[in-house]
Amino acid sequence: MIGQGFLFALHHMESWDVVAGLVGGTLAGYCIGSIPGLSSSIGIALLIPFTYGMSPITSIVLLVTLYMATEYAGAIPAILMNTPGVPAAAVTALDGYQMRLKGEAGAALTMSILSAGFASITGTLLLIGSSTWIASVALAFGPVKYFAIAVLGLSMVSSLSGDSMLKGFIGLFFGLAVALIGTDPMDGVPRYVFNDNLLSGVGFLPALIGLFALSSVFSLVEKSADMPAPLKKLPSVSGQVGLMRPYLGPLARSSVLGFLVSVIPGHGATISAFISYGFQKRISKRPETFGHGNPEGLIASEAAANASVPGALAPMLSLGIPGSASTAVLIGALTLHGVQPGPLLFTRNPEIPYSIFIALIVTMPLMVALGLAGTRLWVRVTQVPRSMIAGLVGAMCLLGSYASQNDLFAVWTTIFFGILGYVLQKAKIHPAPIVLALVLGNITESNFRRSLITSRGHLSIFVTHPFAVACLLVALAVFLAPFVRRAPAAAPAPAPSTH
């Protein structure tokens, strides 16, 4: 059955147009992904008008490879300049940028592309094996389970807090407060809206660009007189691949985890990356080095983010339900070509899902080759004087922010969060928990309220589903773990410090 599908799709794909779509999609994805503000969903939407004249297969191949390459390429500026090109790369920046500061930019970039490549292949194979049934599992997620898994996601704050839990929670609650601004998701009542532009809430991309990218521009300016850090030499290509050998465990785990999380509709690359990063830190032997340039963190984030692409495609292909913002746009693109993703897709247009599978697999070597070769080029960015980088990235931030919403208000949002991010940096409060809260705030609130409306206000609804109870208990354990673990270690510490 599956074999037949592949042969059928291959038959449709043997044309130069499709090959051009593959190569074009990959190249366009690299460009779009590395520009902050242009996320994969915006990239796909921007390219849709160019697909009007193409066949449905060529256009879906082009758009899916673009989606894939964009999700990876966001890591490049995240590692080199602490400027996530796509939201999920904010998690990659946590350790990736630290590695770059230690002169390991080449290794970090190599690991990121190899993790992305491995995770995409793993995710695609999982998708092929499970595409017809896994989405029905995802459907079982009602408000209660959504709420539980969102709380589990929020509990990852303890992995993102660096040295001080208190500062992590300050970030988290600030982010949750910001997520409240805008029109109430249930009743449509405006909350803290002092300007019409806030009716749809604080723009996520503009805030993210400000918190990460613009704030690091300010620090670059501050240190612009410093000489660029010396760059460690990169091994040969075979040596590059060898860099991954100690990390095969985290790589495989994160790929599977990233795929599973993203199958649940609404949980895209960013949430996958956060959960995978938090999980990897919990089980790591050296959790204290996370956030200080531990390759495990980088791999956990990149693998999960890239495995989430095939993951998000699962509910789209079998149910017509978008698993992420990007797949929502893909559905729009397919319907434009008269193809309706949904339960009848595999019988009505089998060439579409199978050409997506083939595109995902065939693009991978191309993407990895481009990434590995490009690494040698991109690391040179670290040798460019900081003042020049600061100017360039600053301009890119504002441009990207404007492009994300087509609105000057977005630029002001970025500037506000840029200044805020810089101040927080001085106070040693990391922006990651804020981003976590911005991603999950709305999902948590909506599903909490939906659950309570369903139960007519009885909190007992949260203990009626075993899965939800398990998630909430694990979340509680994760919240409390750092306090428990630290207590005995902290006891002897105060003695020498009392002067």
Binding site: P185, L199, N406, T454, R456
Partner: protein, 331 residues
């Protein structure tokens, strides 16, 4: 091939010279050749959604027809606020037009109270999406009567998963409840972020019913996952000949209540320009390209020119206000 057709079209247009404007239909009488420079089509949605994709398609057809670039601008900020600001601050010269859906009317009474239906010119209605009552295929509910009985039998317990409260879909539901003589509190309307969110919830068994559009449930119905038990429309849909209207089933609801997509422009538009624009859009909508698009996306082709559209808007606005008051969203 395509390029050559294009070139020859252009050549033909060139030969026709100033007559190119007549391609727009009735523009010749409209005075100095409107349109002679790019038209900006401002959308209140982000790129990629259903409204955006259709607007872009219409833009490309109009562009071919008028030989004038149609510039699509997405201004998704502030739930329509960004778009409305541009439309109301532009000249009514036909070079700035905008997208509108039923949601605009609800927003005028809630979050965007500085505007009302007189703040813009209602140029044309393009398509409509009637509201369907949908249940899981394995449910015992087969008709609106069954639904009313099930609600009564299980008063206060039934979960209905649908778009946010005060939305057109929610109002459609309340219209049925009131026609059936059932108090609104007899069901739990659990709000989702989109109409599609409600459909997903019902598919997953997290709701006993929802109110949706045909395009969102078509394949799920064909695949045997969902069942449509009623439609709010003046007559049955051609695509669903076996689904009786809600009115046919004995419930007196306003049959004109539906989700629509249309085009707006700045207020006080000169009649000549409005007529020309209206005619151009009508011609584009009647093109085989747009007709195929409307059919593929299971929308109801429901073109209405400015005069009819304006009357329709006044009627919709009245009903919207009445129901927003009943639901407690407007005092």
């Amino acid at each position: 091939m395509r390029l050559r057709t294009w070139l020859s079209l252009f050549a033909a247009a060139g030969l026709a010279g100033g007559l190119a404007a007549t391609l727009g239909g009735g523009v010749a009488q409209a005075g100095p050749a409107y349109p002679d420079h790019p038209i900006h089509y401002v959308l209140h949605v982000s790129p990629g959604g259903a409204t955006d994709v259709m607007a872009r398609k219409l833009g490309s057809v109009l562009q071919k027809e008028l030989k004038i670039p149609i510039v699509i601008e997405n201004r998704p900020g502030g739930r329509g606020a960004a778009e409305m600001a541009i439309i109301t601050h532009s000249k009514p010269d036909g070079y700035t037009i905008g997208s509108a859906t039923s949601t605009h009317l609800a927003e005028f009474h809630q979050t965007l109270r500085q505007y009302n239906i007189h703040s813009v010119t209602w140029v044309a209605r393009l398509v409509t999406d009637p509201y369907l009552f949908v249940v899981p295929a394995k449910s015992n509910i087969h008709s609106m009567k069954d639904l009313a009985a099930a609600i009564k039998a299980d008063a206060g317990k039934m979960v209905v998963a649908g778009f946010v409260k005060g939305s057109g879909a929610n109002i459609a539901w309340e219209m049925f409840m009131s026609a059936a003589g059932l108090p609104a509190s007899d069901v739990n309307w659990v709000p989702y972020n989109s109409v599609g969110g409600g459909v997903t919830a019902v598919l997953g068994g997290h709701g006993a019913a929802t109110v949706a559009y045909y395009g969102l449930v078509k394949d799920q119905v064909a695949a045997g996952h969902l069942r449509v038990i009623g439609v709010i429309a003046p007559k049955r849909l051609a695509d669903l000949p076996n689904v009786p209207t809600v009115e046919e089933q004995g419930y007196n609801v306003p049959t004109f209540w539906n989700q629509w997509r249309g085009i707006i422009a700045p207020a006080n538009m000169p009649p000549a320009i409005l007529a020309a624009l209206d005619a151009d859009i009508k011609k584009a909508m009647e093109s085989p390209d747009m007709q195929a698009y409307v059919k593929n996306n299971s929308l109801q082709y429901d073109y209405a020119g400015s005069a009819t559209f304006d009357t329709f808007i006044q009627q919709q606005d009245k009903v919207t206000l009445v129901w927003l008051k009943k639901l407690g969203f407007v005092k």
